[in-house]
Each structure stands twice: as structure tokens, then as C-alpha cells.
């Protein structure tokens, strides 16, 4: 891969808009990982039939997490990666 020139490096260093976008992307990636983990934990609990009394609630939470992740993935694509 071609190394970025000094000018490009400087541009990147002082471009706050780019920096903010990069920070958002990093945060989003971390958040998606977290949501995925939460979703799979809830699914595992449902599969083991733990907390049967709260089954419906847990199923709904799985759906909510799934929808949020879907929205997040679309946003990540928009942000570039």
C-alpha cells in the first residue's frame, strides 16, 4: 500500500471533521460488538429455558437488540467501513 505523504498526514491530523467521524466509527463498532454479545447471551438464556416467567420480555429484548444492530450496521456502512 502506498504510504501517505506528509501533506496527507498533516491534513488528516488537522481535519477535525474526519477525526470526529473516525471517533464515531470506532464507538459504533464497539457498540455493535456489545449489542451482539448481549443478544447472544439473551438467546442462550432463552435456549436453556431460564427465567421462563420472563420469556416474552426476553424475546422482545432480543428483537429490540436485533433491530438496533441492523440500524447500526447500516450506519457503519454509510460511515465508510
Amino acid at each position: 500500500m502506498k504510504k501517505p505523504s506528509l501533506l496527507e498526514k498533516l491534513h488528516r491530523f488537522f481535519n477535525w471533521k474526519l477525526k470526529r467521524q473516525e471517533a464515531r466509527r470506532k464507538q459504533l463498532k464497539l457498540l455493535l460488538k456489545k449489542l451482539k454479545k448481549e443478544e447472544s447471551e439473551l438467546k442462550a438464556k432463552l435456549a436453556r429455558k431460564e427465567e421462563v416467567s420472563r420469556k416474552e420480555h426476553m424475546e422482545r429484548q432480543v428483537k429490540v437488540l436485533h433491530q438496533q444492530r441492523k440500524k447500526g450496521i447500516a450506519l457503519l456502512r454509510e460511515l465508510g467501513r
Binding site: 471517533a23 464507538q27 429490540v64 433491530q67 440500524k71
Partner: protein, 591 residues
């Protein structure tokens, strides 16, 4: 009566002084211009305090040495201990700073403010600073008329420094010509009587003009012109050090108890430092000579030696008082007791914070949470649910169906209305006094959150009528439906309490789960209502009541969730922004 006569008397005395002595007029004009420069400088720094200063304050005050250094550095940079005191008091009032840290900062500020004397004595008297003042004033005023907040801020700072220089110049000129007319040294007093008298004069003058900087400039210029003796100048400086606490005391009058304790701590500090200096004046004079010699200050440069004395005075004060800050806090808490916390009066709103957008916004946020806490109490009283029951999901699922009649209107008037009005009035004052463009959205969001809280209380009032009626009904089906509505609202309060205890960015997304549960539990969802009517379990009249009340319960939930989005999540940050973008719309929410 006395208060009303004070200002005209001052005007009369000054006018008489101007009439008999043109030199006095020049000196007084110098003080006035100098004070105006201070006001302008403060105004300029306020433009930059929208965030940065507050953020630094929060991270750099967790240790005593840090808060002391913070006080020294910021006051040195801004040359205004009054501004640092006001920010500290506003942080204390907003509950974002402990009293120990506050005292550390304000002690540090006392030392930081002495750098002003160094600047005046070092630069002000040697260089023709009026030559620098003129261009600064011109550039400053041009910048003040610009629309950009930052440019305006720089303009005020430049103008402020310009006026300070000009003020010093006039005072210097005044004393020079005064010297030719009257010799003030004939009033010089030696010994303890002189020391005490001049200390009192210094205290009184600083208390009246409310700026130790201005008094010190007067002392230094008078000393340089040979109008007062060195010994008397030292006493005047001790007095100025005590007198400058008046500004903090006046600022603390409107502050909460911690603000008052802080002002008391500053007063104790200045009096203790002053007493030490008076008792040990000879060792102090010796120490000043040693330090001056080490710094290369000439023996006859009395102005610089006075600056050294002023710094030493505060340094000794800090060294003596710093080890006792913990004990001082305990004593101050005993002397100045916290008044019984009222649920109806604001706890965090304080006009001192209005000039600092970030602090004002934080205080406002805390106050809206206070308003929510009051509404929470009303709602659980209506639902007849205790906080203990809220914490235990098992107990929530089997709530006893007895309810007591609660006068929601009376509770609303007592615990919500006046606090709500105070918050709205504070927002209006905030909008009127500072440039709210930078945080306008947050301000509107907080105002909307207040409205949501009020609406939720009003909805619960409507809900109460049928809750009372149907929970006491012999019809088990309608009783169950109403108990379900009650349980749903209680569950929501429980979820919100969990979020309130752990406010973080995740709360924004967790609220989606709460919303989804709420939709799904609706009595009208899934045709539950139709089957109840068809089965003859409830009458059509009961069904319409249930529909209306279900909608009230839904409104309570909607309002409270909207409110929670604003006050239980951190303010603007990348983390919040990212989470906000994942919050689900109504149509994406799983039913």
C-alpha cells in the same frame, strides 16, 4: 435607609474631592478605568469559559495540591480571583465540586492573584504602558463589535488589558503631580498603631472598591511616588488581602450553604494570614529582603518588594492553613448548618452560574432531576406502591388492590408547580443573559423534559379516578385489568429508577426495551379488550373507561421515557451521538 444614602454620599464626597484636587480626580479616574478593565477582562474570559475551564476544573481538583495549583494557575492567567471564586461557588452550588476542593482552589487563587502585583510593580511602573494601552483598546473595541463569540471574547480581553494599563498610567500620573502639591508621608505612622491603622484602611478601601488589584495598584504607585512609607504600604497590603474577601462574601450571599462556607473559609484564611503577618512583621520584612536579594531585586525597588511581600503573605497563609483544611471543613459544617432541604425550592439553580453556560446547564439538569424525584413521589403515592415494592419484581406482580384517595392537585401545587416555574424562569434568565446558541438545543430539551414531567403528573391524576373505582370493584376481570395498568406504570418507574442510578450512554438504548415492553403489555393490544367484552366479563362502559385509562397510562409512560432520554443520559458527546443514532423509531419497535 442607610443603603439608600450610601451611593449619593459617595458621589457627593467624590465630587467634592474632584472640585478641590485635580490630582485626586486623575487618581480616581485611574481606579475607575482600572476597575472597568477588570470587568471587561472578566467578560472576555466568560466567553471562553463555555466548557474548557469547567472540564479542566473537574479533572484537576481531585487532590489538594491539584486544586491549590489550579487556583494559582487560573488566577494567574485570568488575573481575577473574583472570577475563579464565582466559578468555584457555582460548581459547589451545582454539587459538582466538594467543599475541600473548593477551599483548595480559593486558597490557590489568593496566591495567584498576587502575581498581579508583580506585573504592576515589574512592568507597570518601568515601561510607559499607556503607549501599549492605546493600540490594545482600538483593536479590542473593533473585535468586540464582531459577531463571532471567540472574537468578541478576545476583544474584551484586549480591551480589558488596555483599560488596566491606562488606569495604572492615570494613577501613576496622579500620584506624581500629587507629590508636588501634598506630602502624604507626613501622615505616616510607625509602630503597632500604624500597622493596625493602615491594615484597617487597606481593608476598608478594598471592601469599597471590591478589588484587591486596584488597591494594590494604588499602594504600589503611591509607594513608588514616595507618598507612603514602606512599612505602611505593607500594612495596607495586609488590609487589601483581608478586604478582597468582601467580593467572595457578597457572591456567597445568593449561593447555597457550601458557597457560604467557602466564603467563610476565605475570610478565615485572610484574617489568619493577616494576623500572622502583623505579629511577625519583622521576620516578614527580613524574609522579603532575602527573597528580593535572591531574585535580584534592588534594595531601593520598594514596589517590587511589596509584590514579594504580598506573595509571601499568601504563601505563608497557605502553608499554615492547608494541613487543617479537613478540620476547617468539619468546623464550617458545624457553624453553617445546611437548612432543611425543601422539596419545593430549587436546590441547584443559582444566579451565580448564569454567566457560565456549561455550569448553568449542569445545574439545570440536576434541578430537572429534582423535579422528576418530586413527580415520582406523587405517582407512587397515587399507585400506592412503596419504593421497596418497586425494587422487588416479585412484590410488584402481586400488589394489594387497595388504594387511598390522594389529592393530586394539592400535591401538584405543593411540589411541582413552584419548582417548575422557578426552572422556567431560570431558563428565561439564562437565555436573556448569555449567548445560548451553542447549547440552545440542550436548553429546549430540558424545558421539554420539565413539560413531560408535568404532563405525566396530570395524566396520573386523570388515571386515578377510575383506578380508585375499579380496583375496589367486585368484578374480578376489570379489577385485574386496572391492576395491570397500575403494575405497568410501576414497572416503568422501576426501570427508570435503575437508569437514574446508573446514568450512562447505554440508557438511551435500554429505553427502547422499556418502550417495547410497554407496547406489548397494552391492554388493547392483541384483541384482549374485544374478548373481554364478547365474553361478558366487562360492560361496554367499563371497556370505554379501560380504553381511555390505558391511553392515559400510555401517555404517562411516553412522557416519562421522553424525559428520561434527556436527563438520565450524559450530555453531548460522541458516545451519546452514536447511541442516539441507533434509537428505534415507533415503526421499528417490536410489537
Amino acid at each position: 435607609m442607610l443603603k439608600r444614602l450610601f451611593l449619593p454620599s459617595i458621589f457627593l464626597i467624590l465630587s467634592w474631592g474632584f472640585w478641590i484636587s485635580p490630582d485626586f480626580k486623575e487618581i480616581a479616574a485611574g481606579v475607575a478605568i482600572f476597575l472597568f478593565g477588570m470587568v471587561s477582562l472578566e467578560e472576555g474570559f466568560k466567553a471562553f469559559s463555555g466548557g474548557t475551564l469547567e472540564k479542566v476544573l473537574q479533572v484537576s481538583t481531585n487532590r489538594l495540591w491539584k486544586s491549590l495549583s489550579f487556583g494559582v494557575v487560573t488566577t494567574t492567567l485570568m488575573q481575577s480571583s473574583a472570577l475563579v471564586s464565582v466559578i468555584t461557588i457555582s460548581f459547589l452550588s451545582a454539587g459538582m465540586l466538594g467543599l475541600e476542593q473548593g477551599i483548595g482552589i480559593i486558597f490557590g487563587a489568593s496566591l495567584g492573584t498576587t502575581t498581579g502585583a508583580w506585573l504592576i510593580a515589574g512592568l507597570g511602573l518601568k515601561v510607559n504602558i499607556a503607549a501599549y494601552a492605546m493600540p490594545m483598546l482600538v483593536f479590542g473595541v473593533i473585535l468586540v463589535f464582531q459577531s463571532s463569540r471567540a472574537q468578541k471574547g478576545i476583544g474584551y480581553v484586549l480591551g480589558g488589558v488596555g483599560f488596566l494599563f491606562l488606569g495604572i498610567h492615570y494613577m501613576k500620573e496622579g500620584f506624581e503631580s500629587f507629590k508636588a502639591a501634598i506630602d502624604l508621608t507626613q501622615f505616616a505612622m510607625t509602630g503597632l498603631a500604624g500597622l493596625l491603622l493602615y491594615t484597617l484602611i487597606g481593608t476598608a478601601v478594598t471592601a469599597v472598591i471590591q478589588s484587591s488589584h486596584a488597591t494594590l495598584v494604588l499602594i504600589i504607585t503611591a509607594l513608588a511616588a514616595g507618598q507612603i512609607s514602606y512599612e505602611n504600604a505593607l500594612a495596607l497590603a495586609i488590609g487589601a488581602n483581608i478586604g478582597h474577601t468582601v467580593t467572595a462574601i457578597l457572591g456567597a450571599l445568593n449561593a447555597n450553604t457550601d458557597g457560604k462556607r467557602l466564603a467563610a473559609a476565605l475570610l478565615i484564611f485572610s484574617v489568619v494570614a493577616g494576623l500572622i503577618a502583623i505579629v511577625f512583621i519583622q521576620p516578614f520584612i527580613w524574609a522579603v529582603d532575602v527573597v528580593s536579594h535572591a531574585c535580584g531585586i534592588a534594595d531601593d525597588n520598594l514596589a517590587m518588594k511589596l509584590a514579594v511581600f504580598h506573595s509571601l503573605l499568601n504563601l505563608v497563609g497557605i502553608m499554615v492553613m492547608a494541613p487543617f483544611i479537613g478540620r476547617l471543613v468539619v468546623l464550617l459544617r458545624q457553624w453553617l448548618k445546611e437548612p432543611q432541604q425543601s422539596v419545593v425550592t430549587p436546590r441547584y439553580l443559582n444566579d451565580a452560574v448564569i454567566s457560565f453556560p456549561d455550569s448553568a446547564l449542569k445545574a439545570l439538569r440536576q434541578e430537572v432531576r429534582h423535579l422528576y424525584a418530586n413527580s415520582f413521589d406523587i405517582i407512587i403515592t397515587v399507585l400506592n406502591v412503596t419504593p421497596e415494592q418497586l425494587r422487588d419484581p416479585e412484590r410488584l406482580s402481586s400488589l394489594p388492590s387497595d388504594l387511598a384517595v390522594v389529592d393530586v392537585d394539592a400535591l401538584y401545587n405543593q411540589r411541582i408547580k413552584s419548582l417548575y416555574s422557578e426552572i422556567i424562569a431560570f431558563i428565561a434568565r439564562l437565555q436573556g443573559s448569555t449567548d445560548t446558541r451553542a447549547f440552545g438545543e440542550d436548553l429546549y430539551a430540558l424545558r421539554d423534559a420539565c413539560r413531560d414531567i408535568v404532563e405525566a403528573v396530570k395524566d396520573i391524576k386523570h388515571l386515578q379516578k377510575n383506578l380508585l373505582r375499579y380496583l375496589a370493584s367486585p368484578n374480578a376481570s376489570i379489577q385485574k385489568e386496572y391492576n395491570d395498568i397500575r403494575r405497568r406504570v410501576a414497572l416503568l418507574l422501576k426501570d427508570l429508577s435503575t437508569l437514574a442510578d446508573n446514568p450512562d450512554s447505554e440508557a438511551l438504548l435500554a429505553l427502547d426495551g422499556v418502550r417495547a415492553d410497554l407496547f406489548a403489555d397494552d391492554a388493547l393490544a392483541g384483541g384482549a379488550l374485544d374478548s373481554l367484552i364478547r365474553g361478558g366479563h366487562i360492560t361496554p362502559e367499563m371497556a370505554t373507561s379501560l380504553m381511555n385509562d390505558s391511553s392515559y397510562a400510555h401517555d404517562v409512560a411516553r412522557h416519562l421515557i421522553n424525559m428520561a432520554r434527556v436527563i438520565f443520559t450524559p450530555a453531548e458527546s460522541v458516545m451519546r451521538e452514536v447511541r442516539e443514532s441507533l434509537v428505534l423509531d415507533e415503526q421499528n419497535l417490536p410489537q
